[in-house]
Each structure stands twice: as structure tokens, then as C-alpha cells.
Symmetry: C2
Subunit: 209 residues, 2 copies
């Protein structure tokens, strides 16, 4: 079986639209985040080496390295989302005839639910990071491609808000409320200023068009 990242865009979209449970919103969130990181890289690649932008050359080199590392992380998350979802479905399919079976099934579900909460939380974090990088691209990148920094921030923002939904769903099913609440607190911290941050970066770009 091909990994999702190796499938064509059209096949990915066909599978997203189908009644197969995966790929779903979690993979779509990672793809959006990766598009955001890729567009930050594009702005960097079209700023680096231009005499007019010599003053920000070193900063753009660093930004490019960060964006490329983040893109790799987010590409990995496309698969991570599918893997943990499949694991969770396998747990729900465990037998539940006897009390022993019920107890075993429930313990397995709870074990995998922790991972199913952490995977989208990591995606949300990576998307928030991509938003922060797109602000630098919007502020200092080549004006000729500055709109791509605006697309970057919107893609990363959509990825963040999407991943957040999956954190919320899976945290809600966790019986270990201390763990769940800790993860939800991390999520709230990421989300706190996301709406205003996305709008601010978008307006920085718009003002330069």
C-alpha cells in the first residue's frame, strides 16, 4: 500500500471524499499545515540571493531551514493520523462478550486514545509554529511573492483549527481526566490568540499588495 504522501492529489481527494474512514479531517489538517510550511519556504527561496533583500538574507536562511523541518514533520503527521485512527478502530472491534473481554477492550481503547489525543495535538502545535513562521515571511519576505505568505498563514491556521477538533473529540473519551485536561490546556494555549494572529498576518500581507 502506498503512503498517502506518495498518492496523487486527485487520489488523495477521492479517498478523502469516500466513505472509507481514513484519510479524514486529521490527514487533511496535516496536509494544510504542510502547504503552509511549503509556502513559507517558497517566499524564503524567492527572497534569498536577491540584492534588494541582502539585509534579511541570514534571517531568511534560518526561516527556510525551520520551515523545511516543519514541513517534514507535518508530512509525517498525514500518516500518523491514519495509523492511530486505524489502531483505535481495531480496539473498538475487539470482542466484548465476557466481562474479561470487556475490561481488556476498554483498557486497550483507553491506551490508544492517549496517542489519538497526542497525535492531533502535535499537529496543532506544528501548525501554530507554521503560522509564526509565516508572520516573518509576511514581514520580511520578497514583496513580489508576499501574497504566498498570506496563503501560508491561512493554510496553517486552517490546519490548526482542524487538528484542534480531533484533540477535543479524543480527549472527551479519555477516562484519565488529569491527562485529558492537561492536553486540553495545552490546546487552549495554542488556540488562544490563533484567530487574531491569523487575521493580523493576513492584514500585514494585504497592506503590501
Amino acid at each position: 500500500m502506498k503512503e498517502i504522501k506518495d498518492k496523487s492529489i486527485e487520489v488523495f481527494l477521492d479517498e478523502l471524499a469516500s466513505k472509507q474512514p481514513t484519510p479524514g479531517g486529521g490527514s487533511a489538517a496535516a496536509v494544510m499545515g504542510a502547504q503552509g510550511a511549503a509556502l513559507v519556504s517558497m517566499v524564503c527561496n524567492l527572497t534569498i540571493g536577491k540584492p534588494k533583500y541582502a539585509a534579511v538574507e541570514a534571517e531568511m536562511q534560518n526561516l527556510l531551514a525551520e520551515a523545511e523541518a516543519l514541513r517534514e514533520t507535518l508530512i509525517g503527521m498525514i500518516k500518523a493520523d491514519v495509523d492511530v485512527f486505524d489502531k483505535l478502530m481495531a480496539c473498538y472491534a475487539l470482542p466484548k462478550a465476557s466481562d474479561d473481554e470487556k475490561a481488556h477492550r476498554s483498557a486497550q481503547i483507553q491506551f490508544v486514545l492517549r496517542e489519538a489525543t497526542e497525535v492531533p495535538l502535535a499537529c496543532a502545535k506544528a501548525c501554530a509554529e507554521a503560522m509564526a513562521l509565516s508572520r516573518v515571511a509576511a514581514e520580511k519576505g520578497n514583496l513580489g511573492v508576499i501574497s504566498d505568505a498570506g496563503v501560508a498563514v491561512m493554510a496553517a491556521y486552517a490546519g490548526l483549527k482542524s487538528a484542534a477538533l480531533n484533540v477535543t473529540i479524543n480527549a472527551a473519551s479519555l477516562k484519565d481526566r488529569e491527562f485529558a485536561e492537561a492536553k486540553l490546556a495545552e490546546l487552549r494555549a495554542l488556540m488562544q490568540s490563533a484567530d487574531s494572529e491569523a487575521e493580523e498576518v493576513y492584514q500585514i500581507v494585504k497592506a503590501k499588495l
Copy 2:
């Protein structure tokens, strides 16, 4: 040469990140819109045929047909964006030594700029339409996959805001101000309630998790 839709997600992201001018934010906008439409279809496909949702069966069938048509349109826009950008670059590359050449080059640029304004405007319209469909999915779709309706609205919203930047850039370079202002008025109408609409649909989903 492979069309973008036939390239793998990873190759698409590599090309997006590279210093090649295309694909850029315009194609990314279309891909995000298509992800939104695909996720509306996913919610429909996992609602249709379920006895619990028999009351909305016909509506979900219609919604699915609309989402699939929109997805096709948006997939076509990935290529349309690259094509018109390449055409525009070819115009800018025309010779401009003599006054005649200058006049011819300018006329060609202006001719293609109209298309370069209309292509992202059509993408913005399709994304706004995908947002409207995701509201129906969020309100009436299978609760078990309702988060995918929330991802759908965010993807389509990011596509809309992204496409809008390209309409703004290209309209600004148009000498035919009447045409440009008419297109910008259409864009403003699409954008007017987009922020609040995205937030409302997202909150409908969140309240159901």
C-alpha cells in the same frame, strides 16, 4: 508533463516550496477548496444509508452531488491558476525595445490580467460555495463524523481568503478600472460575511463534539 493533480502530495509540496514561480498560492488555494468539498462529500457518504439519518437522506444525496461537482471544479482550478500565471509571465517576457513592442506587450499583459483576475475570483466563489455546503453537513450530517464538516469549512475558508489575495493583486494592475472595480465588488460581496460564517459553522461543529 504531469498535471499537478496527478502528482503526489509530496512532489506537489516540494514544488510549492521551491523557487519555481508555479505552483504557488493560487494552486494551494484550489487544493484547500477541493479538500473542503471532499470532506463535505465524506460526511454525506457516511450519512447516506444510515437508518438514523433517513429523514435527511434526500438532502444528503443532493449535498453530495453538489460537493462532488464543486470538487471537480476546484481540481480544475489548480491547473487554471498555473496556466494563467504562465501566460502572464510570457507576456512580461515580450520584447520592449521599440514603442511598438512596448505597446504590444502592454496590451497583451492587460488582456491576460483580466483572465488572471477572473481565475482566482472563480476559485474564491467555489470556496465560498464549499463553505455553504459545509454548513449543511455540520447541521445535518452523521454526528460520528461531524468534525470533518468543521475541517471542511476551515479548508474552504482558507481557500477563499487565499484566492482573494490573488484577485486583489491582479485587479490592482488592470488599467480598465471599470472591469477591475466590478471584480473587486464581486470579491467584497463574497468576503463580507466569510469570517463570521466560518466561525459560526466551526462553532456548530464544536458544540456537537
